[in-house]
């Protein structure tokens, strides 16, 4: 026989099969196959492969929780490979399988392996704790081992504690050294002993347990749940049973309380209100009768269907109380209007009650409180009706600060006169209320009633001598009065007022009185004295020429001095062609902002006088850093349009092609004097392009500014237009037949431009008729031509679904 190919032997077949099973992760089959193979010959490769199969099977068994079986196979694979079985998994499986003695037998190997991982101490601590109840485990430790030596002492301590022998327990614990595996358990038991004398101190003591101790989480639970206030029920019921029992004992819970907790555990977090009702009623003894009554009554607000159940258990509720609960129910459901109606009904019923009712005695107060409560329910924008109701509440019950504040603020915009009336009334009731006095002071100053403002300021200072606002006000009130006296031809009285103002400014930080005094003295031909005072003012303004100049000019303008003194003018701190620095500009702005509102006109005039300086000074600011923003915003708010425009143009000199959008915006607003409706058609288009630029750059400040001014236009246009709904419904809408999206963008822009051309050729009368007919808007008052064209333009942009950018692009390309 000539056999070049030897047929596969049985061993080969078995080996192939074993390896196939291993590759397919059929570990049980693989193990059996390999074991069979190794019976005939101990092959090292096969042994390694068997070990691999064992390891695979171990993981399968662990996933099924079959730890004892897994451990056998793990140890087998270790023997086959000659490697140590000891790793954290093995340790974990030994604990799970309850094979503590194996851990104890190898405690030195274990410790050495776990030390670098920081787990040696916790594992030793664990074995020590287990040894308290496991004599077999204890016996595995050598007699000299710390666990063997300290376990009996620790056990005795526990037994002593459990039987109430605190002294014995304490002295046992003292014998446990600080390096013992029982040291954290010692701390725990000490804390429990201390709990009896001082609960808080005992719980705090548990903080001494090391953070890496295996009993640290237990200590944390005890800290939270064994407090004097008792358990946090929700958390408590989630704890393991044994821990619940322990805590229950530490908190002194009896059977009733434990039953309560067990029932509470069964309730689901989102159980229906009826279940809550029934729970409370079932455990009313443990919970307390009064508490359950209150709980169930409150529950009626969310669960009115429970009324019968409530009445069955606690008796009927008076009708008035039912109405009150109904009102609370309406409130909790967010039905403010219904709640208000229910409260009104409550009042009606209350008034109809016989006189013996307690509430009847203070019926007025109740009525007032209900009115105020209804006012608060209405939320932020009180209607005139609500304000009247609040006013009525003060007739019934005059002493309510908050109601006065609501009325003062509620009427502030719609009826300032009425607001003032309420402020006066508030002061009659609360004459020394700082808030009301401050409001009155501001209001008086605004009305230029300076004596009144000063009187309020003095009262405030009487109550609060450190009140800087009042001090400033009083100073300004005296100065304002001084200006008035001067204009009335009484310079001597003016000087007296200035002197009073200066008495208040003990640190001499305000330069204005000196300028004022100096100018008045100059007018009285007391030149030297005039120069002295003005120089003092300049000195206070720290020789900053711009600041001093502004302060001086503001007073000149406030006094309406037409002919200025040459001598004092010669003191002018600003040399010709002075180039203000960045610091000058910042300080000048600061000074300008501090000028009171009453002197706004004088300030505006002063700034115009200094306009060349200010415009020149703008060049010192860093445009790229936006340092101009403060100035531009201030000038805009002051309505110094011309100066603002010049300021912006000077800043933009360096920009050949395109200004920074925000500067361009300020310039535009300056040119139209803050009224966008004044912009012409082209300027309007340019403004819209600017707006889109700002939007795309995401400059929030600029965007806010745009929206503020656009909002004004929208509000104005809305107030002009009157919508005729019937006419709109009846009107034939021939727009319905036109669908702009049927056409491409270029054509739509063409339609827009054609229509705009037609519009521009219409007379005003034709334009108005077009708006009435085509837009369907009846104009309540006359708009100018530009305003009407803007309205039509907006309409056409919408109709043809094009934007200003599209139009601009089309115009640029032609």
């Amino acid at each position: 026989m000539n056999n070049f190919l030897r047929p596969a032997s049985k061993v080969d077949q078995q080996t192939t099969k074993a390896r196939e099973c291993l590759a397919k992760k059929q570990y049980r089959e693989a193990i059996n196959a390999y074991k069979e193979l190794l019976k005939s010959s101990p092959d090292q490769t096969l042994q390694r492969e068997l070990a691999e199969a064992y390891r695979g099977r171990v993981h399968e068994l662990v996933l099924k929780g079959m730890y004892p079986e897994a451990l056998v196979l793990w140890e087998n694979q270790a023997r086959l490979t000659g490697e140590s079985p000891w790793n954290t998994d093995y340790v974990s499986w030994l604990f799970k399988a309850g094979q503590y003695t194996k851990l104890a037998d190898q405690v030195d190997t274990l410790t050495a392996m776990l030390e670098p991982l920081g787990l040696a101490r916790p594992v030793l601590e664990m074995l020590a704790i287990l040894a308290l109840d496991d004599s077999k485990l204890l016996a595995r430790f050598a007699p000299g081992h710390a666990i063997a030596r300290h376990q009996p002492i620790m056990l005795e301590a526990f037994k002593a504690y459990s039987s109430g022998q605190s002294g014995t327990a304490e002295s046992c614990l003292q014998q446990i050294p600080s390096r013992s595996p029982y040291r954290e358990v010692r701390t725990l038991l000490k804390g429990l002993l201390l709990l009896e004398q001082d609960r808080a101190a005992g719980l705090d003591f548990l903080d001494g347990i090391a953070s890496d101790s295996v009993i640290r989480p237990l200590a944390e639970h005890l800290k939270q749940q064994a407090t004097a206030r008792g358990v946090d029920a929700q958390t408590y019921v989630m704890l393991p049973g044994k821990l619940q029992t322990l805590i229950g004992k530490l908190n002194g819970y009896g059977k009733q309380q434990l039953d309560l907790l067990r029932s509470f555990r069964k309730l689901s977090p989102d159980c229906p209100d009826r279940a809550l009702f029934e729970f409370a009623l079932t455990h009313r003894q443990a919970l307390g009768e009064a508490v359950v009554y209150r709980f169930c009554k409150m529950l009626l607000v969310d669960y009115p269907e429970g009324l019968k159940l409530f009445e069955r258990n606690f008796g009927g509720l008076p009708e008035l109380e039912l109405i009150r609960l109904q009102a609370l129910m309406d409130e909790s459901r967010g039905n403010g209007a219904d709640a208000a109606n229910t409260w009104r009904e409550y009042l009606l019923r209350l008034k109809a009650l016989p006189d013996r009712s307690d509430d009847q005695a203070n019926l007025k107060q109740v009525e007032a409180f209900v009115f105020r409560h209804c006012f608060e329910l209405a939320g932020e924008s009180p209607t005139p009706g609500l304000l009247k109701m609040l006013a009525r509440s003060l007739e019934l019950d005059p002493e309510d600060r908050q109601s006065f504040i609501h009325l003062i603020e509620g009427y502030q915009v719609s009826d300032p006169g009425e607001s003032q009336v309420w402020l006066t009334k508030a002061l009659q009731v609360f004459p020394r209320d700082l808030d009301f006095l401050t409001r009155a002071m501001y209001a008086a100053a605004e009305r230029e009633a300076f004596k009144k403002a000063a009187s309020y300021a003095r009262t405030i200072l009487d109550i609060d001598s450190l009140n800087t606002v009042a001090r400033l006000f009083l100073t300004e009130a005296h100065l304002g009065h001084a200006r008035k006296q001067f204009k009335a031809g009484r310079p001597d009285l003016a000087l007296q007022e200035i002197s009073k103002a200066q008495d208040l400014d003990t640190n001499e930080r305000n330069s204005q009185p000196f300028y004022l005094q100096g100018i008045i003295l100059g007018r009285s031909r007391q030149v030297e004295a005039s120069i002295t005072q003005i120089s003092k003012g300049f000195a206070i303004d720290q020789q900053n020429p711009l600041v001093a100049q502004l302060g001086y000019l503001v007073e000149i303008n406030s006094l309406g001095v037409s002919k200025r003194s040459k001598e004092t003018d010669a003191l002018s701190p600003c040399p010709p062609k002075y180039q203000p620095s960045r610091d000058d500009m910042n300080r000048l702005l600061e000074k300008a902002r501090r000028v009171p509102k009453a002197q706004a006109a004088a300030l505006l005039k002063a700034l115009h006088t200094m306009s060349s300086l200010i415009v020149r000074g703008g060049s010192s600011l860093d445009v790229s850093e936006g340092e101009y923003r403060g100035w531009c915003g201030f000038l805009l708010d002051l309505a110094a349009y011309d100066l603002l425009n010049r300021f912006c143009r000077n800043l933009c000199k360096g920009y050949r092609f395109q200004w920074p959008p925000l500067l361009a915006l300020y310039s535009t607003l300056a040119r139209c004097e803050g009224d966008l409706t004044q912009l012409g058609m082209i300027e309007g288009m340019q403004f819209n392009i600017l707006r889109m630029q700002i939007q795309s750059e995401g400059d929030q400040e600029a965007l806010k500014l745009v929206n503020r001014y656009v909002g004004r236009v929208v509000a104005e246009v809305h107030s002009l237009m009157q919508e005729d709904d019937e006419e709109e419904d009846e009107e034939e809408d021939d727009d319905e037949s036109f669908d702009p999206l049927e056409y491409d963008r270029e054509d739509r822009v063409e339609f827009f431009l054609e229509d705009m051309n037609e519009i521009s050729e219409m007379t005003d009368k034709e334009l108005k008729a077009y708006i009435n007919d085509t837009l369907g808007k009846k104009l309540r008052r006359n708009l100018n031509r530009d305003q009407m064209i803007d309205m039509v333009m907006d309409y056409l942009l919408q109709r043809y679904k094009v934007t200003m950018r599209d139009v601009r692009n089309a115009m640029d390309s032609t």
Binding site: S92, D133, R216, H221, P240, V291, F369
Partner: protein, 111 residues
Amino acid sequence: MKTPFEILGIEEDADDQAIKKAYLRKVRENPPERDGAAFQAIRKAYETIQTARHRLKYRLFHYESPDLSALVAEALSADSVQHPDQKTLTATLSEAALEQLLHRLTQNHAA
């Protein structure tokens, strides 16, 4: 769910003076550095009912959403300490400690 009267330990018909006295007594017993939460509760209770006007408002408009956990917790305020028996104590210790240790061993393996 304790009422302000219960927190201050007074009857519901107490007058302003009695309420103030009770409040001062309670804050002396519960200074903020010892138990901040209790101090705040006492303070809030006092502010809610300090005058007749306050009490009237409270009676008319007070609404508190019923909280069963709070109700149960109030009924379970810790009283005297009982001593759990040794077996319960050591068994609880073992169970809790083992759970913590196994968690740490698993974390270590994952790392």
